[in-house]
Amino acid sequence: MSRPAANNDGEPLVRIEGLGLSHDRQPILEDLNLTVEAGDLLGIVGPSGAGKTTLLRTITGTLRPDQGSVALRSGLQIGYVPQVESVDWNFPVTVRQCILMARTSRRFAWPTNAEKAAVSEVLARLGLDGLADRHIRALSGGQQQRVFIARALLRSPDLLLLDEPTSGVDVALRHELLHLLEELRSEGTSIVLTTHDLNGVATHLPTVACMNRTIIAQGPTSSVLNPQTLEATYGASMQVLEHAGMRLIVDSPDHTHAPFGPDLDALLESAE
């Protein structure tokens, strides 16, 4: 594997070329190409086992690919937010301790005044005021998710990677989370997230990459999320419906699809 760092400021944050990775001789990623530009809010979608988490791990450098290259812009700071399902909620750690552990440049338990200020700022930014000394279990689902985003943000990342942040959250939390990510993007943090939530991506994210071991399509959500790409990604027929300016993706029960799907209003009218 090569991990050369690109030097020019105009270069993408991440450029992945010809990436391949296997486990027990089973290919997980094959000839994968992906580019993440500064200012991106990119959703990566694909079926279970498509290699989405593995792709994030190759970007963070915790997995070494067998082929290809992952080039990061020189000095790129990455913040990584894991799946909350992987967190041990009984672990004896408070919100403050959880967030501060990301500041590995200092090794002691006790924070500096600058760190205390940074923690207070990030907690306020994410609406977690007054929760610093709570145990992580004693938080609501949305607060728990935001604690791990806060931990990543404390590293002042240029790029925030989130693994399945919408998994297992209800509609209100999903809405809140995706709006938060839009705000962070507008403040200058580029964001890549993996998700199974096609409709959340269609509604909230400007760019998307469909993957199934390789990137099948990457680009603006409006052009990438079409029935052909979705079928190539998921191996199942899907419909893309339009309603009130929004796109909705639904399973297609009859395995037939129109080139761009019917208009939902027309569908509802015909049903009446």
């Binding site: 894991p82 672990f91 750690v93 408070t94 990301a102 590995t104 090794r107 002691f108």
Partner: protein, 277 residues
């Protein structure tokens, strides 16, 4: 009454034993936190049994117990760490294979070349009779070393323990940190074995952190509380063992178990904690 309680302090072997038991309690309480929060309590049982193999081998070869059992224990700890990280084998299975084989080898060596008796019993259940000034110095040095590691490596150790994947993604060398922790576990068990014994040291590593966990949700407070509880149990248990004329290991462990019962009665897990267990 007071005179009776103070009487054992007149003996040097008891004073040395008391210092070692108190420090061993604190040391086991401190490193035990990392073991308990990782769900690796079985490791303590396994590693102490593995070190018993080294104890037997060092007796056979006529080398220092600390040298023989130390090398043996560290090798066993690193072997467990390596097997767990590189193969699709759970830590519990790796511990079961490596440490029981080592313990069995120790028993065979004792049976063939050693002699059961006082030293054998002391290895299994702990004894203050053999605690020398050297033992005191060794445990003081090891305790200071572990405190320095835990203090200066607090955040990397916590991050790697709580969330190894993100810790690695954040640039920490988690494999080295895991290996360092395993070596710390092995050395701590090694220097504590003399007073606690092979069969009972697991309790000194598990009970104080478990009591501390009942009392706090904060990791840093848990480290301090667990060390203090371990030291207190070591001090009281050693005195108890003298006055009851029993081995030091059982004396210390029974005090720790009693402390757990009190803590559990006072701080019962909440409904949420029970549901999560």
């Amino acid at each position: 009454m007071i005179d009776e309680l103070l009487r054992p302090f007149a003996y040097e072997f008891f004073r040395n034993g008391l210092i070692v038991a108190t420090l061993a309690g604190a040391l086991c309480g401190l490193v035990g936190v990392y073991i308990v929060v990782r769900g690796m309590s079985y490791l303590t049982h396994g590693l102490s049994h593995a070190i018993f193999g080294g104890f037997a081998a060092s007796a056979l070869l006529g080398v220092s117990f600390l040298l023989g059992a130390g090398v043996w224990g560290i090798a066993s700890a690193l072997a467990i760490n390596s097997v767990t990280r590189r193969r699709p084998i759970g830590a519990d299975a790796a511990i079961g294979v490596v440490t029981t084989a080592s313990f069995a080898l120790g028993l065979i060596l004792f049976a063939l070349f050693g002699h059961s008796g006082a030293s054998f019993d002391a290895a299994l259940f702990g004894s203050v009779l053999g605690v020398s000034l050297t033992s005191v110095i060794v445990i003081v040095i090891v305790s200071l070393l572990v405190v320095v590691i835990v203090t200066f490596g607090y955040r990397p150790l916590l991050f790697t323990t709580f969330d190894p994947e993100v810790a690695a993604a954040s640039g920490l060398r988690t494999a080295r940190i895991e290996a360092l922790l395993m070596v710390v576990f092995a050395i701590s068990i090694l220097v504590s074995m003399q007073v606690l014994g092979v069969t009972l040291i697991a309790a000194a590593l598990v009970i104080p952190p478990t009591i501390a966990r009942l009392l706090t949700h904060s990791f840093s407070k848990m480290l301090i509380l667990s060390s203090a509880i371990g030291a207190t149990c070591g001090f009281i248990g050693m005195n108890l063992s003298y006055h009851l004329d029993v081995q030091s290991g059982p004396g210390i462990v029974i005090v720790a178990a009693f402390a757990f019962l009190i803590a559990y009665a006072v701080k019962r897990p909440t409904g949420m904690q029970r549901a999560a267990a």
